[in-house]
Symmetry: C2
Subunit: 323 residues, 2 copies
């Protein structure tokens, strides 16, 4: 906890759909939340943050403690990182500026080994906790977020000054308590890599096919061919996880299909990234799992084919200035 | 040969890029060629047929013996079928009306077992010859065809009144002679199924990916990921062919990649079918090879994934009136 405040102070690095939603929920629960923004700074500073939630109703946060530069933010005990994993290598100086001594950085991203990337650019004194968000949220306009369903964040210790299991568990439990106070379910994960593989069983098929086929979950589930492809991709990821030593619960793919079937139509972030010409999170969600599974002796042929098709699309999707 | 004419009479069923190109070449060589058209009948009857060829220059055929109904056409000794394989089941009455006794129907389509479909709807007296076109042509406007490269048609006997090998060979040789007179290379195929599998090694990757990724051959070859995917798909088709008893020449995939590398940028028919909202030829090029290979014990995982993605796209691509 920082010395400047008795309330835990939370910094939101990247106020998109994920950062905005959880930051707003924490602020409403009474935490001292500071939001770092880029292009949407002026709008949010003026209008506040709005979450239109199918679960909680219309939630408005105003005023918002908004910043357009990390240098202006106070030191934070908790840092929630909701930026795209494609930018992780550049986060070092930003997070280092905002982190209180012994701060905990909670990385709210999909994909494999995203924490390893961040570890390389952060001081040793900072804890890194991995967070997996089971939530359907989208940014619909500057400062406006639609929350369609769910909300839980699974948390697991990655690395940092906590050297023994008990002190690691204390950090993760504190992290879970932070969310629970705000009404957000936050299960503690026994194994972060296992949990990341488990989440990939959903992200690999749905994120990629939503972008490739320009469709939401309902359409992908309703068509017999795309549904069969979703299932085949899931089965490959389950086998890839097993090859890497992470046996998943029996019937896990069926479970995810049933959960998705019951969801409102949802377009995962990769769909929106493609439409809005942002880089796709292909390394974290595809390339690293493919490399890990192949090193463990299992190639995932359909996953690789999907990755290759998406990599082709991603290269052609950058604004001319990036070429 | 029909009794009405000493020149062989050729009927073109479906005057798109393939039918128009070969029909025009045969007409220029002196054959008595009759073209069946649908939507482009009036334009072609008025303006003739134009082939802008990178090989032969600008070729104009005018007047064209054009028909909008098979009932008006004279009986033909040779029928060249250049329609989409998706419409084969409906070709019976049309071809039966135009076929002279003992006519030979040359089916100029891609994919597997397209002749089997046609056999079911044609009288026993008619020969069916399969034809594989190695040609880059596209219809660019009504009655206007761009010919970018190549032109050969490989021919092989499928079924009909020729009961022994010698009489089958006589039909196929006559078919080859027809093309050769018009300056078109026409190798005789020892095995039609083998040749159809061999051609699939090109069509499966390039047709499907050009539609899925909305790109021509040059772009697909230049990108390292799509090139690797092309190659992986080719390898699967080669293995599928082998499982079905059709060993292909060693190094065949490399050969095709090199040939395509040397081609002008080309967008295969499936690309154009998608853009123009026509049904994609998925049964002939994907579903039937997948079924045949699976029955022989080999599933083609990437080919199946591509097929499933294309089937999803195809269903969403039909005009509302077809739904």
């Amino acid at each position: 906890m920082s010395v400047e405040s008795r309330r835990p102070r939370v910094g939101i690095i990247g106020t998109g759909a994920i950062g905005g939603f959880y930051g707003l929920m924490l602020a409403r629960a009474g935490y001292d939340v500071h939001f770092l923004l880029r292009s949407e700074f002026e709008t949010v500073a003026r209008q506040g943050l709005l979450v239109n939630s199918a679960v909680h109703g219309e939630l408005h946060l105003k005023p918002v403690q908004a910043y357009c530069s990390a240098a202006d933010m106070p030191p934070c005990d908790w840092l929630l990182v909701g930026t795209k994993s494609t930018g992780n290598a550049a986060l070092g100086p930003i997070i280092s500026q905002v982190a209180a001594p012994n701060a905990t950085v909670l990385l709210l991203q999909n994909g494999l080994a995203v924490e390893d990337q961040l570890r390389k650019v952060l001081p040793d004194s900072v804890h890194i906790v991995g967070g997996l968000c089971f939530v359907c949220v989208n940014r619909v306009a500057p400062g406006v977020i639609a929350h369609q369903a769910f909300g839980a964040v699974s948390v697991g210790y990655h690395s940092g000054p906590a050297v023994d299991e008990a002190s690691r568990m204390a950090i993760v439990e504190a992290c879970a308590a932070l969310f629970k106070t705000a009404g957000i379910d936050a299960p503690v994960m026994a194994s972060l890599p296992q949990a990341r593989w488990q989440k990939l069983v959903w992200n690999v098929p749905y994120n990629g096919l939503s972008a490739l086929l320009q469709a939401g979950t309902s359409q992908l589930m309703a068509d017999p061919d795309s549904q069969a492809l979703l299932r085949a991709l899931m089965d490959e990821v389950v086998q890839g996880a097993e090859a890497c030593g992470h046996a998943l619960p029996p019937g896990f793919a069926e479970h995810l299909l049933a959960v998705t079937q019951g969801m409102p139509d949802y377009r995962p972030s990769m769909y929106h990234d493609l439409v809005e010409k942002r880089p796709l999170e292909l390394d974290a969600i595809y390339a690293r799992p493919l490399t890990a599974a192949l090193a463990a002796g299992f190639d995932m042929p359909r996953v690789r084919a999907l990755y290759q098709a998406l990599a082709f699309i991603d290269r052609g999707n950058r604004p001319a200035s990036e070429e």
